[in-house]
């Protein structure tokens, strides 16, 4: 166990911390901190507030009979194009709400208009360049604007990013990742937390495979190292290959009679 310090003068160091002792006293005055301090043990999970709101979202969605998907990927993997194709196929079969996360623009939300889905845009700009993810409070605000009782399926299109969205439960029932074959085989090993949290991985842009050197078998092997049992579906949002399979996967869950996780 390492211990990482930054002192008031800006210097940092790390020292081994494998000895066993109670953590109720200071480490002497080498730390530069004032020694006559009162130390109080607290045990608080920093994600607690987010996770409580996520549980409330999940319960509200379950009560309204809405199956919720958190759709995540790197930027440019094809989430919006795939979602557009998905809406075109599911229009009239299932009632869909979209929560569209984007740092600044409404470009993606605009591309999803015209398919009968209710689209709620969540701009994550916060004055510091924008949040890199959607969290449970942001999705909660969007939920209040969506007609939940009139929906069967809600898709949260997260901000394109392979790190931060994995950390924040938004209240979804499943997490679906879009991985595109142009991203290289090592992505699961570089972003294990995100790939491990996925309940389904859509392997997108497979129409490009003849033009690429990518080794899909190696990608699959790397994916299995971090998430041994996750199913995958090969798709091409451009040609439509596999999109019906993906829509079938969604439809089965959005219209399933089984109680949704999170039901009270």
């Amino acid at each position: 166990m390492g211990r990482f310090h930054r002192h008031a003068d800006g210097t940092e160091h790390e020292h081994p911390h494998d000895h066993d002792h109670p953590h109720d006293r200071d480490h002497g005055d080498h730390s530069g901190y004032a020694t006559a301090t009162e130390r109080v043990t607290v045990l608080e999970r920093i994600f607690d507030e987010n996770d409580r709101i996520a549980a409330a979202n999940r319960a509200d969605l379950a009560a309204a009979g809405v199956f919720a998907v958190n759709l995540m990927s790197s930027p440019g993997a094809g989430k919006t194009t795939l979602l557009r194709e998905t809406l075109a196929r599911l229009q009239g079969k299932v009632r869909i709400g979209i929560v569209e996360g984007d740092i600044e623009t409404s470009l993606d939300a605009d591309r999803l208009a015209g398919f009968g889905a209710a689209v709620e845009l969540v701009n994550t700009g916060n004055g510091f360049g924008g949040e890199c993810h959607l969290d449970a409070p942001m999705v909660r605000r969007a939920l209040t604007r969506l007609p939940l009782d009139e929906l069967d399926l809600m898709v949260v299109e997260n901000v394109g990013n392979l790190v931060c969205p994995a950390e924040f439960d938004t209240g979804e029932h499943v997490r679906v990742m879009v991985y595109s074959v142009t991203e290289g085989e090592e992505k699961p090993l570089k972003y294990p937390v995100m790939f491990r949290s996925a309940d389904l991985v859509l392997v997108n842009k497979v129409d490009l495979l003849p033009h690429l050197d990518v080794d899909l078998a190696l990608f699959e092997a790397n994916l299995r190292r971090v998430n041994p049992s996750v199913p995958t579906i090969e798709v091409s949002a451009r040609t439509g290959l596999g999109v019906d399979d993906w829509c079938g996967w969604l439809l089965e869950r959005a219209t399933g009679s089984a109680a949704l996780p999170g039901s009270r």
Partner: protein, 113 residues
């Protein structure tokens, strides 16, 4: 770069627990699987707390390496690099994360009044 939102959550909890007392050091336990960049967290903390009651307080990070446990062999082992969520002994996939997902405030030190 979600460290800014994390700092916001840390500040909320700390302010609530401090009940008006001046905070010197905030001790955190940060698991390796939490994808927190220490430098980013410390930078965001300084930026976020400037001019607030928490101005001048310091984050102390205790980093916890990721460990897995095989349910079949009942053996603990560190997560290898590159990562593989399988038992090195039986090669089975029935493994659980037993450490490395922590992200907690463990203690607060209050400056002398």
């Amino acid at each position: 770069m979600h460290e800014l939102s994390l700092c916001g959550a840390i500040a909320d909890i700390t302010t609530r627990r401090a009940e008006g007392r001046p905070v010197g050091v905030i001790h955190l336990k940060v698991g390796a699987l939490r994808q927190v960049v220490p430098d980013s967290l410390l930078f965001c903390w300084t930026m976020l707390t400037e001019g607030t009651d928490l101005d001048g307080s310091v984050l102390d990070l205790d980093r916890v390496p990721a460990r897995l446990s095989c349910r079949s062999c009942e053996v603990d082992f560190p997560l290898p690099d590159p990562p593989a969520f399988a038992c090195p002994q039986c090669l089975g996939l029935n493994v659980v994360v037993v450490a490395g997902e922590e992200f907690d405030i463990t203690a607060l030190e209050f400056a002398p009044a």
